[in-house]
């Protein structure tokens, strides 16, 4: 039941985004991309969702210009 409610919340969120004005930021595509992992029959879906949203680079950035993370990596 808990998982069912969470899937519905996710669906409702996407519906809400459609009804909103303006352009979605890059995180919407990142979210939709990460959702593909849910359809897999292989274990490790949570890790794969997290990986799909993660910064894949390895070098430190020159300087931090913000404090907060935003939820998904922007290439």
């Amino acid at each position: 039941m808990d998982a069912r409610s969470k899937i519905i919340e996710l669906a409702a969120f996407l519906d809400r985004v459609d009804r909103a004005e303006g352009e979605a930021d890059f995180r919407l595509d990142a979210l939709k991309n990460s959702m593909r992992e849910l359809g897999s029959n292989e274990p490790g879906r949570a890790a794969k969702v997290l990986l799909s949203l993660s910064d894949p680079t390895t070098e430190p950035i020159v300087a931090a210009t913000t404090k907060a993370a935003c939820g998904a990596y922007k290439a």
């Binding site: 997290l50 993660s54 910064d55 894949p56 430190p60 300087a63 993370a69 990596y73």
Partner: protein, 269 residues
């Protein structure tokens, strides 16, 4: 039920939280130095904060009969300013002598910048020089994987640091194995949205084992729950885990890690 809360920012919590933690079986609380939600303007601000962590907050906790311990550092969010970082690092050794200071933490990275890494390296050096335990904060959200790898590289580069004396906190499903493979400890933080849920934390324990892992709430000035650890224990009970298994995860494991410093002394049960 008994438990140790190894990571809670009690300076930002009310006395109601102390009462509820005691009622839920908390036997000790440990508080790492963290970002207050704003950038402190000078090393003097950190000096006052360290006094709060080592004198005033333990007094507040003692009114409820709860032993309070702390960790010290300049946190990653305030590590872009190298001059400030050096000034703060210079005052830490004086506080390391205090009987309720467990080690250096919560150090780590935030946005994975060059200066953050330099400050992290200085903290690791300080911990090595003073033979301190280390508690690490891993970055949030999309920065966590990259930051965890960078942090592990920094710590492993200092051969004076023994892996079993380091706890890498806020692991998630994509970083927990990386941490455990190094011989360091992995902390699972029960914090809404940006970290783990109780269900996911228990999943990780069931998949990756219950050795060298602990649970914590990291409650702070944001929306967070100081009772997240005992609530997770209830979820474990619901799944059929034994009382022995639960006690190991929420009491014996943090005890095992924290007793690596002789300062972690609890009143006899």
């Amino acid at each position: 039920m008994r438990y140790i809360e190894p990571h809670a920012h009690m300076v930002s919590r009310t006395t109601d939280d102390y009462t509820r933690m005691l009622l839920s079986g908390c036997r000790a609380v440990c508080e790492p130095a963290f970002w207050a939600g704003f950038d402190r303007s000078s090393a003097a601000g950190f000096y006052d904060y360290f006094c709060q962590l080592t004198v005033h907050e333990p007094r507040r906790a003692a009114k409820f009969g709860l032993p309070h311990f702390s960790w010290l550092c300049i946190n990653p969010k305030e590590s872009e300013d190298m001059k400030l970082a050096d000034d703060v690092l210079a005052i830490i050794p004086e506080f390391l002598k205090r009987p309720n200071v467990l080690g250096i933490g919560e150090i780590g990275l935030n946005k994975n910048s060059r200066n953050e890494i330099k400050v992290l390296e200085k903290h690791v050096n300080l911990a090595a020089e003073h033979e301190q335990l280390i508690l690490v904060h891993t970055p949030h959200l999309e920065d966590k994987l990259k930051g965890t790898k960078l942090i592990l590289d920094v710590i492993r580069a200092d051969k004076r640091i023994q892996p079993h004396r380091v706890i890498i906190d806020h692991v998630e499903e994509h970083t927990v194995q990386l941490v455990l493979d190094t011989g360091m400890w992995a902390g699972m933080t029960l914090y809404p949205e940006s970290k783990c849920s109780p269900a996911r934390a228990i999943d990780m324990v069931e998949v990756f084992g219950n050795e060298r892992v602990w649970l914590n709430c990291a409650c702070d000035w944001g929306v967070s729950d100081p009772l997240a650890v005992p609530k997770t224990a209830l979820e474990m009970r619901r799944r059929g885990h034994s009382e022995e298994t639960i006690d190991k995860l929420i009491y014996q494991n943090p005890l095992q890690f924290l007793r690596q410093t002789p300062k972690f002394i609890l009143p006899s049960a």
